[in-house]
Assembly symmetry: C2
Homo-oligomer: 279 residues x 2
């Protein structure tokens, strides 16, 4: 995700210094006009705005603390974490930085590599309004940004997005399974209900994958499970019971335990088939 997003920023005229743990991953960006740096610390030391796009919360914490990035940031820098991290991590990073005079936004995205290349990402932003306005020209080069609340809210919105996706995958899988088991043609049933109240991007995209039994990821079941876990943790912190989230989490957990971790998340259908002795 980082590379196409950086490309969009270069094309929009921003001066970029890039760093990646694996230096070959930045080679193409140097040709596009980015500067490079020998360390994360060196990359951020003169920056007005720092953007991170890492694999999870601990990776961001490690970079900030062990990697010396927090110490290297000059006061007044804006730190924008576009990684998908749990809300409690996003809040912890924001407090840690704010104590050093650094503004922070959590701004995870949805839309995948295609959205990153097109500059059509949905960007869910948590943090204060001033920082959001400061980041607006950057976000405009990457997609459609919406401020959804204080620090941690962007991360929470991403989880809300992921839980709707996961539960809707379960809904479509159960419906197609019932159609087939009851003697209807599941492909025809899906075609018949497209465009009505049951319509969704999941019915369109993941429904097509289920019918084709194309479970090459896409988004892996193990990533969906990680998001369902984070959502459950956020619900627990907020004192909430969310029964459909819990049930869908349990199904994704069973899918990964039964060898489906690396399959696309639409393979929840396979777990429902196994549960019903249809495998």
């Amino acid at each position: 995700m980082g590379e196409p997003m950086a490309n969009r920023l270069i094309s929009a005229g921003f001066a970029l210094t890039v760093w990646n743990r694996s230096p070959h991953k930045t080679a193409a960006l140097l040709e596009q006009g980015a500067h490079t740096a020998p360390s994360a610390r060196a990359a951020v030391v003169h920056a007005d705005v720092v953007i991170t796009m890492l694999s999870n919360g601990p990776a961001v914490s490690e970079l900030l603390e062990m990697g010396g990035v927090a110490d290297a940031l000059k006061p007044g820098t804006l730190f924008v974490d576009m990684s998908s991290v749990p809300p409690h991590s996003a809040r912890a990073h924001a407090s840690f930085l704010q104590a050093r005079g650094i503004s922070a936004l959590d701004a995870p995205v949805s839309g995948g590599v295609v959205g990153a290349c097109e500059g059509s990402l949905a960007i869910m932003v948590g943090g204060d309004e001033t920082a959001f306005l400061r980041a607006a020209p950057i976000f405009a080069a990457l997609g459609r940004a919406t401020r959804v609340g204080p620090a941690g809210s962007g991360a929470l919105a991403k989880l809300a997005n992921q839980m709707i996706v996961g539960i809707t995958i379960g809904a479509v899988a159960e419906a197609l399974l019932l159609a087939q088991a009851g003697g209807a043609d599941p492909a025809a049933v899906r075609a018949a209900i497209r465009g009505g109240f049951a319509e969704s991007r999941v019915l369109e995209l993941h429904g097509a994958r289920m019918l084709a039994r194309n479970f090459t990821p896409g988004a892996q079941a193990t990533t969906q499970l990680k998001d369902m876990n984070s959502a459950l943790q956020a619900a627990h912190e907020a004192g909430l019971q969310l029964p459909l989230l819990q049930q869908t989490h349990d199904l994704f957990l069973a899918l990964t335990e039964h060898g489906g971790a690396g399959l696309d998340h639409s393979a929840l259908l396979v777990e429902l088939e196994r549960l019903n002795g249809l495998q």
Copy 2:
């Protein structure tokens, strides 16, 4: 639903004889050029094609048997039941009629009164291909028809549609509840995730109702519960466990038990709030 559908058929040039238990309901159709009949039996006795649009399976059974409609149909008549009935009722009606030389289709619709007026209903059709082709010019005046399998399959497809709608309502309600409890602005979260992988007609329509707390039906929770019950029964007949369907059924049951039977089905949010002590 029956009246706007009959209007579409008259406009398309079909000669119509109409009957309703409450005669005043057919008055406007007579002005449009429909004929009327003093009984259901009298309405069908000369018909080539008979269409029923009734409230449930028992109403169709009663009309066919006690109402004398089955006895009055001439052999070779095509019987099209567009009511929403359980698959086992649709199959029973089809066998009962087939034994008398009558072809039958189960052809429930989705799209509501608006879809009926516009002729844009989704029509899910179970029955044999010959009967489907015979009904095609009629369906074309009413919406988009898809044959999904043998007798009972149309009814099953309608249940598949309804279970996706019900579970997706639960997904959106849980996500908005988590967003709010976690300190984000749920309206902004919904706006941020619109158009991405979480997008659905439910996020658009029912999500807007939840945020506005507008639970005037629309489609009543009690009707959604009836559909979830029928889907569970169909799953049971097919030997299937469908955990998200079961969980969502239980939530709609609790909603109706707690006074929400007459609210819109998007009021599942209210039941989730109650479950979490937020009412």
